[in-house]
Amino acid sequence: MAVEDAPVLGAADDTEAAPLVVAPSSSGRKSARRKRRQWGLRLSLSWLILTVITSVFAAVISPYGPDVQRLNKTFQGSSWSHWLGTDNYGRDVLSRVIWGGQAAWEGVAIAMSVAVVLGVPWGVISGYWPRYLGATLMRVADAMLAFPALIFAIVVTGILGPSLVNSMVVVGVVFSPVIARLMRVGVLTLRDRSFVESARLSGCPTRVILWRHIFPLAIGPVIVQGTIFTGLAFIIEGALSFLGFSIQPPEPSWGGDMAQAFQYVFSNPLDILPFGIVIAITVLCIYRVGDSLRDHYGAIPAFDGSEFEQATILA
């Protein structure tokens, strides 16, 4: 499901930031909870760093090559030589998971770079010159948001030819109008503030105003939303490779290997679990980091209700 909860609401344990949650009375309980949150954050970051390291150094770390087949050792359970067992070609599942992580992180990095590189200037321009240019650009964003994200990604990837780079570039393009909207709302509220006007009056060139005065203040919500999109990008990468629109087998990928294991669901149902669990844990950790970022930037000022909300829930 390509939808996410609005940051304004906060998670159950956001005692400080979420406006709607009443802080518990005893300060001891509060600090205990904060400590627990810190641990949650640390655990999440550790997992993310671990997966990044294993992905980058997959060639060194993974016990076997991703494509090494041992056809006399298919569908083995977990053992000391194969921690997560082997698949239908006798390939080591743990190695496949590690190498799949490489594909996933690469894809997500592509998608997020594209989303930011497209979306941020888009939003800044349409927020700073809102009358004609901005209105036009936002109509385009509206139109792009009228396509369900996953469907658009699948169709365009299918047309351009399925590959990791193609699919994730398209996912980035799909994310960019949401980023643009968030950025625009921020810029819109800032551009009429007095410090911006004084900068303008003292002859500051527009690009300096945009870069030094407006950008740093407007980027907060985008960072929070970007984190959520990073988690979402993992899910979409998984979905696309599951459907065969991203990286092609026999190249390892979490979604693709799940699709492979799904063919043997009746005889070896447990073989699917490692890939799915790894995706779920990674996404969970990213959302956790997103929660903390949200606290750090404060509950995003609810600029102008409706529009903001739409930008955050949608994907």
């Binding site: 499901m1 390509a2 939808v3 996410e4 909860d5 304004v8 609401l9 906060g10 998670a11 159950a12 344990d13 005692t15 709607l20 949650v21 009443v22 518990p24 109509r139 385009v140 509206d142 139109a143 792009m144 009228a146 396509f147 369900p148 994200a149 996953l150 469907i151 658009f152 699948i154 169709v155 299918g158 047309i159 351009l160 030819g161 899910i235 998984g238 979905a239 599951f242 459907l243 629109f245 799940m258 799904f262 669901v265 009746f266 149902p269 699917i272 890939f275 799915g276 995706i279 779920a280 844990i281 996404v283 969970l284 959302y287 409706s306 529009e307 909300e309 739409q310 829930i313 949608l314």
Partner: protein
């Protein structure tokens, strides 16, 4: 005026229950409809530019095909002659603007062209497959009504307690689990291990309605659980906020039952929820593609994947525009419903 008098006055005001509101509404039914009509009409007008740009995006995307649709269909060994014939057949020799207008004209009249692969009418195919997809989506929505909304309300009424934390954490997990993984887990648990529900396949309701529901159970449950995680969090947020409003505090001070208070708060939270459901619907349309593929349901998503695989461009184009239409229609319906339940809200 004595304090007691004041209290009972306020109580009567609050006791204006839904029935009374309903009667008041009925008296105003004409004005309500007029308001609804005008706001719907205005929004419909606003939709036109969006829809037009969407069709242009759609049209351009299809023409991104390397070498053009004709070459994509005939493959790399096509002779120039066959290419020329097919190009003429598909109307690809005309200027692109003419092609677009021609297509748009057809689309407005409900004619989305014919499939490149088997010559089937795109509109007929949509008519056959759309009900299946919609059945899936609406059953998933029913799951969220049944499970997610009550759970969210429970969490909102016990904010920051253990119950609330448990619910929020579980729903957080639900956000992180990809639905194709959830689908497979449900297949393994209910289909393979327990054997209660059929794993995959589809039976048309006209053949056997019970069988149809039986086959739709797992797919809709998958989507319902995924969407439910979102709804739980949104209901919790919106209800939590509504329950802290001044009117609710007054209502509590008046001694209204907790049930009643909750129902008032829910009415205040409703506009937010409607917006969330609108967005959720868009997300669900995307999810149906994967779910239909896994459970082997012959809905629009399956047809779309199939058309992409065999590069049936008119079919893709037609299906995409139907998806866009569904999204825009959903947005419209949500906007109108919001203006009905919350007429005080500023119009967008």
């Amino acid at each position: 005026m004595s304090v007691e008098n004041l209290t009972s006055n306020a109580e009567t005001k609050f006791a204006l229950d839904s029935a009374a509101v309903g009667r008041a509404r009925l008296r105003n039914v004409e004005s309500v409809f007029r308001r609804m009509g005008s706001s719907a009409g205005r929004r419909l007008l606003l939709l036109i530019p969006t829809a037009l740009i969407a069709t242009i995006v759609n049209f351009t995307v299809i023409r991104l095909v390397p070498g053009g649709p004709a070459r994509a269909k005939l493959g790399i060994y096509a002779t120039p002659q066959t290419l020329r014939v097919l190009n003429r057949e598909m109307g690809l020799y005309h200027p692109i603007v003419y092609q677009y207008l021609h297509w748009l004209g057809g689309a407005i009249h409900g004619n989305l062209g014919t499939s490149l692969s088997n010559g089937a009418n795109v509109t007929t195919t949509v008519g056959r497959t759309l009900p299946i997809t919609m059945e899936l989506v609406s059953m998933a929505l029913i799951w969220t009504f049944v499970f997610a909304i009550p759970t969210g309300i429970i969490a909102a009424r016990r904010l920051t307690t253990r119950v609330d934390r448990t619910i929020t954490n579980i729903s957080g997990l639900g956000l992180a689990v990809p639905d194709f993984f959830l689908a497979i887990v449900l297949i393994i648990v209910f289909g393979v291990k327990l054997g209660i529900f059929p794993e995959i396949g589809y039976v048309s309701p006209s053949t056997s309605f019970a069988q149809n529901l039986n086959h739709m159970f797992l797919p809709s449950l998958t989507m319902g659980l995924g969407a439910g995680a979102i709804i739980v969090r949104q209901v919790r947020g919106a209800m939590g906020e509504a329950l802290q409003g001044d009117s609710i505090r007054t209502a509590r001070a008046m001694g209204l039952s907790e049930r009643k208070v909750t129902s008032y708060a829910f009415r205040n939270a409703l506009p937010t929820l409607l917006n969330v459901y609108g967005l959720l619907f868009i997300g669900m349309l995307g999810a149906t593609i994967i779910i239909e593929q896994i459970f082997n349901l012959p809905g629009m998503g399956s047809i779309l994947i199939n058309s992409i695989t065999i590069q049936d461009y008119t079919m893709i184009e037609g299906l995409l525009i139907i998806y866009v239409g569904l999204v825009l229609a959903a947005n419209l319906v949500v906007d109108v419903l919001v203006s009905l339940v919350a007429p005080w809200q500023k119009e967008r």
